[in-house]
């Protein structure tokens, strides 16, 4: 039976994430897998802008903090000059699916040999809860006070579905962090993505459905239920692409 220990990749400090936020869990899963793979010293975290940037304060491993939306571009420069390193970008939904849409799609299409961890909580948490590209229809935010309306704002972007249409990516999967099973599956998916990268197979993408109690204006427990009834039916968890499995 595995011991449950504090990850050495995360600083021994009090988290600044809001109570009940799943970001801390997502970071924890990534750090666990890196340690399990013996990659603590070889990993490089490309930190994006948004709540994800708080990892500047907590991440004990090497990191490069970059401009909003540009993590896949910066990671391209990192990995092309240091192909032996385990490189991953950790991006939120505004960062990845709005301002950084060109960078994520193009890096995926080039088949860059790094991993993108995509934390999707359907809102711009850091700036106070504005509409994100992944905000659900009807979901209230500070810029959609009557709920998101498809007439004027379009529909929530499904990034796994989009990226899996590209030829180059080798692993594309989505997991929901609101249940023990979802957490276990996510851990296994992150591990597979990193293993593919270490084997030089190509671009890997793991979307993690997370929450935002503060800006959703729900208790932490209510956010987990909201995810069951609203988020998961639209953003369906699952493996969207696994080239290695296809080759079996």
């Amino acid at each position: 039976m595995a011991e449950y220990m504090r990850s050495h990749m995360i600083a021994d400090a009090q988290s600044g994430y809001c109570p009940g936020c799943l970001h801390a869990l997502a970071t924890r899963l990534v750090s666990d897998v890196i340690e399990e793979l013996g990659q603590a010293d070889n990993s490089l975290n490309v930190i994006s802008v948004g709540c994800s940037a708080l990892n500047i304060l907590y991440w004990n491993g090497d990191f490069l903090s970059v401009a909003h939306g540009r993590a896949p571009a910066a990671a391209t420069g990192v990995k092309r000059t240091n192909p032996e390193r385990l490189v991953f970008a950790y991006q939120g939904d505004g960062d990845l699916a709005a301002i950084g849409l060109a960078e994520i799609m193009s890096a995926a299409n080039r088949g860059e040999n790094f991993t993108v961890i995509f934390a999707n909580n359907q809102t711009y948490g850091m700036t106070g809860g504005q509409m994100a590209p992944t905000t659900l229809l009807g979901q209230k935010t500070t810029t959609t006070v009557y709920g998101r309306d498809a007439e004027t704002t379009g529909y929530p972007m499904k990034m796994c579905e989009l990226i899996s249409t590209l030829e180059a990516p080798v692993f594309v999967a989505r997991y929901a962090l609101n249940s023990p099973k979802g957490i276990r599956d996510a851990r296994a998916g992150i591990k597979k993505a990193f293993e593919y990268q270490l084997a030089g197979k190509g671009f890997t993408f793991v979307e993690l459905l997370t929450n935002c109690p503060t800006n959703w204006k729900l208790s932490p427990l209510q956010t987990l239920e909201y995810m069951n009834t609203n988020t998961i039916p639209y953003f369906k968890p699952g493996v969207y692409k696994d080239k290695e499995a296809e080759n079996v």
């Binding site: 010293d41 070889n42 490089l44 490309v46 930190i47 940037a53 500047i56 991440w59 004990n60 491993g61 090497d62 990191f63 490069l64 903090s65 970059v66 401009a67 540009r70 571009a73 910066a74 990671a75 391209t76 420069g77 990192v78 990995k79 092309r80 000059t81 240091n82 390193r85 060109a102 960078e103 799609m105 193009s106 080039r110």
Partner: protein
């Protein structure tokens, strides 16, 4: 006599970069700089480097940011509209204290402007390459040879200062072919990697991090250090060519392509007995303040700013040093219309005859 080639200015920049140890390039097509990415797309892989055609100028400068963080000698090139798009990334390079070379082969502006050569990006290059009040050293060569020589040393300055360097050259110089004596190939070794870089190849065994965001007191300290660095550049790093200035009563100030046309005018006017000379800034930032400030204004009757852009953009920097001790005149062409020998000669002739008064 060494490695002499007949090359376009753009190609000379690309080859000199490779020989300076550049092993990463990312860029997006834009005229009139396309020979740089085209050349490097096949040349860099030959020497074990990486070339990436970015999906945009924005992505490209951020790829350079990533490579620079790993200690690689990295560069990008573009022209005015693309440099505007890179502005965010250049500011982040300065914030994260990362060395890199950015090349602007300039064209007519503003906006999409013209694909023909112009010197319309002086203010952008020297005053505000991006938000936040930072500067980069700005080199302004006036030949393919000088471009190669400056590129060859660019990373030495960039790494010394942990700050990006800009090479600003108009599309005319980028595309004319000239003889270039190429510098020798420099082999960068793993042990040459800067200690701050995020690579593990330099033997570092502690956590490495590079960030463009700071807590307030640290940022204030970084701003202060940068201010001191810019002052030190003025003392140590100004490059300028002085041509026939010793007895000059009129001094042309011109850089890049304008300086070549101006030099022809100086020779022609000298042959007619006019006491005229040329002061050519090779670094636009740091600007040759002292060289202009210390001219003998008992002798100098006028300064003539010649630029291939209208209105002249360097004029205010000149005027700040002249301090009203003599008139400052300007002449230029713009929008992709080229300066030519006859036009410059006639314009200066008019100024010397007192018929032009922009002072």
């Amino acid at each position: 006599m060494g490695d002499i080639k007949f090359m376009k200015g753009n190609e000379a920049i690309a080859e000199a970069a490779v020989r300076a140890g550049c092993r990463f390039f990312a860029g997006y097509p834009i005229t009139p700089q396309n020979e740089i990415p085209e050349y490097l797309s096949w040349r860099l892989p030959e020497v074990g480097g990486a070339y990436v055609q970015g999906e945009s100028e924005i992505a490209s400068i951020n790829m350079v940011y990533g490579a620079a963080a790993m200690g690689a000698r990295a560069m990008t090139s573009s022209s005015g509209p693309g440099i505007s798009l890179k502005a965010e990334g250049i500011s982040y390079l300065a914030a994260a204290m990362l060395p890199a070379l950015i090349v602007n082969i300039s064209r007519g502006g503003p906006g999409l402007g013209s694909i023909q050569p112009a010197q319309s990006d002086y203010l952008q290059a020297t005053k505000a390459l991006g938000h936040g009040g930072f500067h980069a050293m700005v080199f302004a060569p006036n030949s393919a040879q000088e471009a190669a020589d400056l590129v060859y040393t660019a990373w030495d300055y960039a790494e010394r200062d942990r700050n990006p360097v800009l090479l600003l050259m108009d599309g005319c110089l980028g595309n004319i072919m000239e003889e270039v004596q190429l510098p020798p190939m420099r082999e960068m070794k793993d042990e040459d990697l800067p200690e701050w870089s995020l690579t593990r190849r330099n033997g570092r065994d502690y956590q490495g991090n590079i960030t463009p965001i700071y807590t307030e007191p640290i940022l204030e300290g970084i701003n202060t250090m940068a201010g001191e660095m810019y002052k030190a550049w003025e003392e140590d790093d100004v490059k300028v060519e002085e041509f026939m200035l010793d007895d000059a009563e009129y001094v042309i100030v011109a850089y890049g392509i304008a300086s070549r046309v101006a030099k022809e005018a100086v020779l022609r006017l000298r042959a007619e007995g006019h006491k005229i000379g040329l002061l050519r800034p090779i670094t636009l930032f740091p600007f040759p303040k002292k060289q202009i400030r210390d001219l003998d204004y008992n002798r100098v009757k006028g300064i003539i700013d010649i630029e291939m852009t209208i209105p002249a953009q360097m004029r205010e920097d000149i005027e700040l040093q002249v301090k009203d001790r003599c008139p400052v005149y300007e002449y230029g062409r713009s929008g992709g219309c080229l300066l030519d020998d006859e036009g410059v000669y006639e314009a200066i002739g008019e100024i010397l005859a007192g018929g032009e008064n922009n002072g």
